[in-house]
Structures are given as structure tokens and as C-alpha cells.
């Protein structure tokens, strides 16, 4: 009989505790869910920010590649200008007759 009463006490206490846990979960649960959602939102926002930064980086990187190509073209033109155009002009200046003839030829 006494054992049965003790068991009843434990059972009642368990029921009360379970009820209390349910009550607390009802209070806290939505906040836990909100917090998890906020964490996911934060991670998602971070990913979006990284992707946006990376897109800008792709464009900047392409610009850097183009700068190299532009520098290459400018150097080649500078070389051409110094070696060919300047010399051609110097030759024409030394030989006015040839220069006039060349001018007549190119004006046709």
C-alpha cells in the first residue's frame, strides 16, 4: 500500500513536471524558432554579400587583365612610333625632294 502511494506521488510529480516543461516550451519555443531563423537569415545574408562582392571582384579583375593588354598595346605602339614613324619623318626632313615626291604620291 505504501509503495503504491509512493509510486503515485512520483507519477503525479512527473505529470506536473511534464506539464511545466510543456508550459515553458510554449513560452520559449517561438523565440527559439525565431533565433534559428535569424541565424539562417544572417548566414544567407553573408553569402549574398560575399557573392555580391565577388561579382564586383570579377569585374575589377577583368579590368586588371585589360590594363595589362592595354599596356602591351601602348608599348608596342610606342616602339613602332620611335623606330618607324620618327625615323621616317627624319628621313623625309633630310631629303626635301623625296619628301615632296612622297607627299604628291600620297595625296593622289
Amino acid at each position: 500500500m505504501m509503495r503504491s502511494m509512493a509510486e503515485n506521488d512520483v507519477s503525479e510529480e512527473l505529470v506536473e513536471l511534464r506539464s511545466e516543461v510543456e508550459h515553458l516550451r510554449a513560452l520559449v519555443g517561438p523565440s527559439e524558432d525565431d533565433y534559428r531563423k535569424l541565424q539562417l537569415d544572417l548566414l544567407g545574408a553573408r553569402d549574398v554579400a560575399i557573392a555580391a562582392e565577388a561579382e564586383a571582384g570579377v569585374q575589377r579583375g577583368r579590368n586588371q587583365l585589360l590594363e595589362t593588354e592595354l599596356a602591351r598595346a601602348q608599348r608596342d605602339f610606342q616602339w613602332f612610333r620611335e623606330r618607324v614613324l620618327v625615323r621616317a619623318k627624319a628621313f623625309r626632313d633630310r631629303s626635301p625632294a623625296i619628301g615632296r615626291a612622297a607627299g604628291r604620291l600620297t595625296s593622289r
Partner: protein
């Protein structure tokens, strides 16, 4: 095939002295005009002391024999050998080697073209101590124009393991080629790379002649124009690299990498070393990717995140490395910085308080003195680990006693390249290819391979503890800038290599944790201390434009941009 050596004197009408150079060419169904151009380029050499050994590997095209007959006897210095069966390029090359009499052998492919002064230029560089020489080359386009010069670095063993950057033109001492057994069968398509690796095992370093001495013809069947035309060649190349690593006693494997012709070497970490991560910090904060952060917290947490744990005692990474975090924190830094570090790193954290005016070198030295690891990782606080296996990659390289320091690929927050190794060229000190796209392989695949560099940034650099102690730590005369330049040059002066690897990577939010403009006295000090070492970079090239680190050639060396042959046969100029 007549297996006797030195048949030249038997076949020439006039016996002569041993030639200095034996040019070796194997031929198989070569396009007749290409073969004609190749042979003519040898005949046109200004150097007189040469012989040309041509081995026809049983060509099916009758025009090939016609061209060989046309040139046979013209110069009086050519021997043509006709194989009765097709043995492959390695077998044919060995036949040529057997028949050669010269002191040096010159490897020339059947459709490539030498410059007229190629042998003379090589001859001018021959010394008593080097056994192997290689030059720069460019590409010979279908329209006959030369373009895209490849200006190579001086001998770089690690780079050679990652890909055959040497290719052509190669001249090697005959006795050494014989010593390593000539060309190995079963490596056709990668036979040159295999030979170079075996030569490197007995006769490194090679001597580099920084001149374009060969025009490498682009044709659909050649690797020059279409790197996927010989996929089997790259599998054999991986085997060649693997065999080489085994012969060198290096516990590593090699497999074809991300790009054709590049090999990925994986080195397991031995003996569970401890890596002490030295992080100088003053708790700087900033906004990265839209979120505020205390930089050092994210720097350390990202290192430990690979285990999925943030609070560790005796932090351990996957891959058998123990971590020790040594944070050198400025006096007066907000206490939240240290509290956060303790919650992240737990018992793995050692804090050293630094109470003197800012001196990066001194902070590093103080941090290393408080550490106990076999390796020290110098790490800026404004970093975040990108590749989880980075430390394993760096330790794997640093296990080689000939390596003094390992640098990593660093990216800006927008993904562009922040660090691809240092370049010290004509007094200009900078990072290679700064600002290029982070996933770009780089000119000559410079960003896709592990390669030797003149120096690396200390923002993320691994040094063996014994090396750090031997060179005396960081020079505190460089309080802010160029301390890593000075340290790198001292590591190299100790006879060790500095390797940059693309397989270890961090984000580096440079300048976010403080502005440190370069001072005039720092520039003067580094010039006074290192003069020539920052004028001539052995891992760059003297033919490249000064003031830049993007492998830009000097004027009018570029020719037209490289072309490609489209599947329908049309040519695209890119």
C-alpha cells in the same frame, strides 16, 4: 637501326672532330613544310660545331622521306636513320642518342624551328659546372608569325614537378644523359619531362638562358596549340612526376591537375607536428561582407572551424596537425578581444602582451619566442581561412629540408588576388599579378602551380622553427614594411627555397586593420641591404617590363595574341 654510336664519321665524306652539339630530332609523319623548316633552321646555324641526328620512326607519308632525302648531305653534318618499325618517340630518341657524338645533346622536335643563333647563344653560356641548359621560346603560328614568348624563370625544381615549364630549348651534357639512362619507354608524350626530372636528380640546378632560341610550332596535333590533344601524355607525365618523387625519397603522390599539363602533388603530413600560429593584433574591427567583426576572432576561428568545433583544448585539425595559437596583443586592447579568443581557442591559446610602439617584426619575434611548435605560421589578424586543407598543404611542402618558407594564395574580400608570391624586379618590389581574378591560372600557369619565389608575404607564411631561429628571426629595423622581404631574402641566402602554393589560401582584408604607408627610409634600407637581390629576380625574367609584375613583355616582343584552331578548322585570334 644501326646500334653503334658515332656513325657520323662513317657516313660523312670528310671525317672531322667531335662536334660540340648533337641536335637530336625524331620524325614521324611530319607535315613536309614543317619538317623542311626545322631542318633548314639547323643548317642555318651560325655555330659551326654541330651534327644533326634525325631518326625517322617509320613514317607512313612518302613525302617525309623525300624531304629527308632532300636535306641529307646538304650540310654534311646530318645523319638520317630510318627505323624499320614504329617504336614511339622515346625509342626513336634513344636511337638518336646512341648515334650522337657531340659533347652536348640538343632536343629539337620535328616541326619546331631554331633561331639562327640558337646554338651559338647556348655555346656562349656553357660553363664547366652546369650540365643542363634551357632557353626561352615562343610560339610559331600557322601564318608563320611568332607570338606569345614564354619568358621562363631560372631553375625551379618545385615548379618543374608541377609542370614542364622548361619544354624547349634544352641542351644537356651527353655523359649526364647517358648516366640517367636516356629516354624511358612508356612515357611517350611526357618523355622530355621525365628526362628533365631525372636530370634534375643528378645535376641541378640547370642554367637558364633568358633568350628566345626556339619557335614552338602550333599545330592541331601538337601540345603547343591544343593541350588536350594528348591526354594520355599528361597521365604519363603524372606517372613521371610520381616516380621522380619516389626516387627523391619524398612521400607524395602526383595526379593530373586542374589544367592540362599541370600536376597535383599531395604530400601527407608526417609525425603529427605542432604549428604555432603567431597572430599580432590590436583587436582591430571592421565591416566585411556587410557584418562587423573583430578581425582576430574570425582569423583564429576560421583556422579551428575545420574541426567543426569552436572551443577546443589542444586544438587539432584533420590531417594530423596540432595547433597552438599565440596572440601578441597590444597593451590597452579592449579586454573583449582576449575574452573572445579564449572562448574560441581555449587551452590552445597563449597570450603575449606587447607594450612597445608598433613594430611588426618585434611582435613576431616575441610571439615566436613564446611558442613551442615545430613550425610557425605567421598570420595577420585581418585574414580568414579559405581552403580548409591549407595548413596541411604548407606543412607538406615545408617538410622538405630544402624548403625554408611557404607562402599562400591570398585573396581580397572581392575574390581578386592579393598575394601570388613576391616579385623583386629592377628595384620594384610587389606581389605577382596583384588584382588579377582570384581563379585565373596566370601567365604561364604561374598561379596554378607550386613554384619558387623570391619571397612571400608574412601575412600568411609558414616557416620551420629551426629555419626561423637560424636566420635570426625578423629584422626589427623593418618595423612596418618590407620585413617579409628582408626575411625572405635571408631565408634564401641560407640556401633554402621559398615556395608559393595555390593550394593554401586565405582571404586577406588588407589595410582594413590599419594604414601603413611605405616610408622612404624603409625603401632606402632595403635597397642598401639587398641591392642586387631586388634588382634581378631569378624567378621572374629580365625580358619583362620594369615596374610591373604581370609578366608583360618589353616592346614588340609579344607579336600577335595567341591563336586557337576552332573545331571547324577556322582560326580564332582570341
Amino acid at each position: 637501326m644501326n646500334g653503334n654510336r658515332c656513325t657520323t664519321s662513317e657516313q660523312l665524306s670528310t671525317p672531322r672532330a667531335q662536334p660540340r652539339f648533337s641536335v637530336l630530332t625524331t620524325v614521324y609523319d611530319t607535315e613536309p613544310d614543317h619538317l623542311r623548316a626545322c631542318l633548314a633552321s639547323v643548317d642555318a646555324q651560325t655555330e659551326q660545331s654541330w651534327e644533326h641526328i634525325v631518326v625517322d620512326d617509320c613514317s607512313q607519308r612518302p613525302e617525309v622521306r623525300a624531304v629527308l632525302a632532300e636535306f641529307d648531305g646538304q650540310s654534311g653534318r646530318r645523319t638520317v636513320i630510318y627505323r624499320s618499325d614504329n617504336g614511339g618517340i622515346a625509342a626513336a630518341s634513344n636511337d638518336a642518342l646512341t648515334a650522337a657524338c657531340g659533347e652536348f645533346v640538343v632536343l629539337l622536335d620535328h616541326d619546331d624551328v631554331l633561331t639562327v643563333d640558337a646554338l651559338a647563344a647556348m655555346g656562349g653560356h656553357l660553363r664547366g659546372d652546369a650540365d643542363v641548359y634551357y632557353s626561352d621560346h615562343d610560339l610559331l603560328r600557322p601564318d608563320g608569325r611568332c607570338a606569345s614568348p614564354m619568358y621562363k624563370p631560372d631553375f625551379s625544381l618545385e615548379r618543374l614537378r608541377n609542370h614542364n615549364y622548361i619544354t624547349h630549348l634544352v641542351v644537356a651534357r651527353r655523359t649526364v644523359v647517358d648516366q640517367v639512362g636516356g629516354f624511358r619507354s612508356g612515357f611517350d608524350g611526357a618523355q622530355d619531362h621525365d628526362l628533365l626530372l631525372r636530370l634534375a636528380e643528378v645535376s641541378a640546378p640547370f642554367d637558364h638562358v633568358p633568350e628566345v632560341l626556339l619557335h614552338w610550332r602550333q599545330s592541331p596535333a601538337s601540345v603547343a596549340s591544343d593541350s588536350m590533344s594528348k591526354p594520355e601524355a599528361y597521365n604519363r607525365g603524372a606517372r613521371a612526376v610520381g616516380d621522380h618523387l619516389t626516387r627523391c625519397g619524398i612521400d607524395a603522390t602526383a595526379e593530373p591537375g586542374k589544367y592540362a599539363g599541370i600536376y597535383r602533388i599531395r604530400r601527407p603530413v608526417r609525425d603529427r607536428p605542432t604549428v604555432s600560429v603567431i597572430v599580432p593584433t590590436r583587436g582591430s574591427r571592421g565591416r566585411i561582407w556587410g557584418a562587423e567583426r573583430i578581425f582576430v576572432h574570425d582569423a583564429v576561428a576560421s583556422l579551428l572551424r575545420v574541426t567543426g568545433q569552436h572551443e577546443l583544448a589542444g586544438a587539432e585539425l584533420v590531417g594530423g596537425i596540432d595547433l597552438e595559437i599565440v596572440a601578441v596583443i597590444d597593451e590597452g586592447t579592449d579586454a573583449v578581444v582576449e575574452r573572445g579568443l579564449r572562448s574560441i581557442a581555449g587551452d590552445a591559446l597563449t597570450v603575449v602582451t606587447y607594450g612597445r610602439p608598433f613594430n611588426f617584426s618585434e611582435k613576431i619575434n616575441v610571439g615566436v619566442a613564446a611558442s613551442s611548435g615545430d613550425y610557425v605560421l605567421l598570420l595577420n589578424d585581418d585574414t580568414e581561412l579559405l581552403n580548409p586543407g591549407s595548413l596541411q598543404e604548407m606543412v607538406g611542402l615545408a617538410q622538405d629540408r630544402s624548403v625554408g618558407m611557404v607562402g599562400a594564395k591570398l585573396l581580397f574580400e572581392d575574390g581578386r588576388l592579393q598575394h601570388g608570391g613576391h616579385v623583386y624586379h629592377r628595384g620594384f618590389i610587389s606581389h605577382a599579378l596583384l588584382g588579377w581574378p582570384g581563379d585565373h591560372p596566370g601567365p604561364y600557369r604561374a598561379l596554378a602551380v607550386e613554384r619558387e619565389c623570391s619571397g612571400v608575404t608574412a601575412a600568411a607564411a609558414l616557416v620551420r622553427r629551426d629555419v626561423f631561429d637560424e636566420v635570426g628571426g625578423m629584422n626589427e629595423a623593418f618595423a612596418v614594411n618590407y620585413n617579409d622581404v628582408d626575411f625572405s631574402l635571408r631565408v634564401r641566402a641560407s640556401g633554402r627555397r621559398i615556395i608559393w602554393t595555390p593550394h593554401a589560401s586565405w582571404y586577406h582584408f588588407e589595410q582594413q586593420s590599419g594604414e601603413h604607408p611605405i616610408l622612404d627610409e624603409e625603401i632606402l634600407t632595403v635597397q642598401q641591404l639587398w641591392g642586387r637581390d631586388i634588382d634581378v629576380d631569378p624567378f621572374y625574367n629580365s625580358n619583362l617590363a620594369p615596374g610591373r609584375t604581370d609578366w608583360l613583355e618589353l616592346p614588340l616582343r609579344s607579336g600577335a595574341p595567341p591563336y586557337e584552331v576552332l573545331p571547324d578548322g577556322r582560326v580564332s585570334w582570341g
